[in-house]
Symmetry: C2
Subunit: 416 residues, 2 copies
């Protein structure tokens, strides 16, 4: 029997009516001949309520107890979903993490899967059950305690089940109808993509992170699980939503698939750093220890007559980490581990990126990008490139304009 995994997030199961609505989608797949594993989140708001109780009780909580409390939300939805399907004459039962069992590491509140044995569920499918409703986001540790995977873990649960059971596809139902070429709030010309490669999705995190947890995309990519994002609030068929897949399966000929952005970036430059072997480690070691998430890094070497080789070292980080970054650099200077003349900070920048697997085989993408920005008189402050992405830092006030200009320049409103 072919098997599908269908995952419903919190807003999709927010109340009994919505549970009934999405159960209809499950029933339709059963009628098409599929066995279905349904992964459910907690009803919208429930997890926050439980987390709130834990944090009020114990600010530095024992993560094992946090997991025991917070996992309840998914258990409730799983039972209610199984009952709803039974009412529709679909043979279904619920499974809590320890019943499957979903074996994970003991890293409570951020556990990782170690194994998902298929025997128990398959035995029930063999008995004639058509649907296994599994509580997402949770598992059981080697010590027999309940674990959770961290926020958004239900997506990862879904992909892991699809991989373990060799599912034909993993459908992630959510409150948007797919992945767009860019944020539709920034340009109305944003277009929903029918397909996107896993690698592109990872680079488009700023567009996709609200839709799909990065870890689930990585897992789907590793196990080549076709992953589909679609709306639980619309009628859907086998062509709905956006399919994330291996790049071999992408037919679209677009060089660029999407334009991503990140609003709250800061640019930090260490001016005239004395260059020497190990200088990068001397700078970024303390930043990492201070909890600064460094994103782009750019370095220019020059020669200065009196001190020898010097460099300007520029990096970007989230705006709210600038104070920490400054302190780490000043401390390092005071300790004598790095020497620089000045620390220049620009907290009013944004990052705009174009992403596409087609870049690998197409030259000239950077030229089109820079020309489009130049035409709008947008000054580029930092450039960074990877195999399938080109990112620039620009003044924040130009961010929307830049996204619109790039979306037009690469004709993303037109299907490939």
């Amino acid at each position: 029997m072919p098997l599908l995994v269908m995952k419903f997030g919190g807003t999709s199961v927010a109340d009994l009516d919505r549970i009934k609505n999405v159960a209809q989608k499950v029933k339709r797949e059963v009628e098409r001949g599929y066995d279905v594993i349904v992964i459910v989140s907690a009803m919208s708001g429930k997890t926050n309520e439980l987390v709130g109780w834990v944090e009020s009780t114990s600010p530095l909580y024992d993560a094992r107890e946090y997991d025991a409390v917070v996992s309840s939300g998914e258990n409730i939805t799983a039972g209610l979903m199984a009952l709803t399907l039974q009412e529709m004459d679909v043979p279904a039962r619920s499974w809590q993490g320890w019943q499957v069992p979903i074996n994970t590491t003991s890293a409570h509140a951020s556990a990782r899967f170690s194994s998902i044995p298929t025997e128990n569920l398959n035995a029930k499918f063999a008995e004639g059950f058509k649907v296994a409703v599994v509580a997402g986001f949770q598992g059981v540790s080697p010590e027999g305690r309940i674990t959770t995977l961290g926020r958004g873990g239900s997506d990862t649960t879904a992909v892991a089940f699809a991989a373990a059971f060799g599912a034909e596809r993993c459908d992630i139902f959510t409150d948007v109808d797919g992945i767009y070429t860019t944020d539709p709030r920034i340009t109305s010309r944003a277009r929903k993509l029918d397909r996107i490669a896993f690698e592109e999705m990872l680079e488009l995190a700023s567009l996709g992170a609200k839709v799909l947890q990065t870890r689930s995309v990585e897992l789907a990519m590793r196990y080549k699980v076709p992953l589909r994002v679609l709306s639980s609030f619309e009628d859907t068929d086998e062509n709905s939503g956006t399919l994330l897949c291996d790049e071999d399966e992408i037919m679209e000929s677009k060089v660029v698939s999407g334009v991503a952005y990140s609003r709250d970036e800061a640019k930090v430059t260490l001016v005239t750093v004395e260059d020497s072997p190990g200088i990068a480690a001397a700078i970024f070691g303390p930043l990492s220890e201070a909890g600064v998430n460094v994103d782009m890094i750019v370095q220019n070497i020059s020669e200065k007559a009196d001190v020898g080789p010097v460099t300007d070292m520029t990096f970007s980080c989230p705006t709210n980490q600038v104070a920490r970054a400054r302190k780490a650099m000043e401390d390092a200077k005071a300790a004598g581990t790095i020497r620089y003349e000045d620390l220049s900070i620009d907290s009013d920048v944004a990052k705009v990126s174009v992403v596409g697997i087609g870049m690998r085989s197409h030259a000239g993408v950077a030229a089109i990008m820079f020309k489009a920005l130049s035409k709008e008189n947008i000054n580029i402050k930092v450039i960074s490139t990877s195999e399938i992405k080109i990112s620039v830092l620009i003044d924040r006030k130009y961010m929307e304009l830049a996204v619109q200009a790039l979306h037009d320049a690469f004709e993303l409103d037109k299907a490939g």
Copy 2:
């Protein structure tokens, strides 16, 4: 290490402040040198919410899914209680039913204990944990599915743990401060009992049922678990509340311990029933099948010249079952399995009982009772006696008066 079981009901753990309040009581026992097993209910209102969802989803629900959903309430409280104790520097962890494991039958929604292995909890106590917080009301079936014990099951969980672990005592914290000689709403002279025998408590169900589930009292009696009822909202010490214990341990010399009542009773009389062997079975079989809970039964044999031996058969049942009782009797008459002249129904009666283990060795209790009622001009309609109880049916309007008169007649306001 001596061990205590402490059980907190829903109102005692209704919010985070109350959980903190009762955790203080646990800490105090730990400081006195006890290991403690804490049994918790769901936060007040939670179970009703979950039951409501299940019933709305599926009126004829699968009890296995009901149990999976409804048991979540206790799991949440258990985790929060463990966190609260940890915040007070008391080494504690939570246990869900399947983790202990609390082995039960597969009778979902009304499961019974089959075994409670002590190894897992004792291993943790040996490691230095002082408190095991156990989710009440639940267990796990031989098939590995979650079971619940039915409403009020947390009391029974507490007693079962006390028996399994050989606890010194089982303390049931609730919203009243003990068991009273009668309902204090009926007479202000009602007095809290320091001790009461298990048997008396069972007969005083109408006073005690709001406080303690009957099944838990039966279990405590069987395993001779000293069971104490006390308030979670007051400062309590080792003399607080009421201790339920074996009658050997009762020092009080009172013949009567309490006056119980039941307001909504009906009296049904089959007038001039033709008596023959098996007539009782012919009457009470159909009543039982119709779901009528018959309480008192009284029969008077007489001789009637034309038909041979005849009897008037009287029984009592809850008022809301009268219609069912009438139909069952009329059907049986129509079917010819019983013959009677008339069916007389009095729906305006109440039952008043005096209870006391001292009756076993003291004569004259009935005489005092009847005299006290007679003095108030209260007519007795039916009398029924057991070894430690005398019950009468009277007109409902005299119920409060009767309770007050009997309470005075047996001087229950005075300590024994």
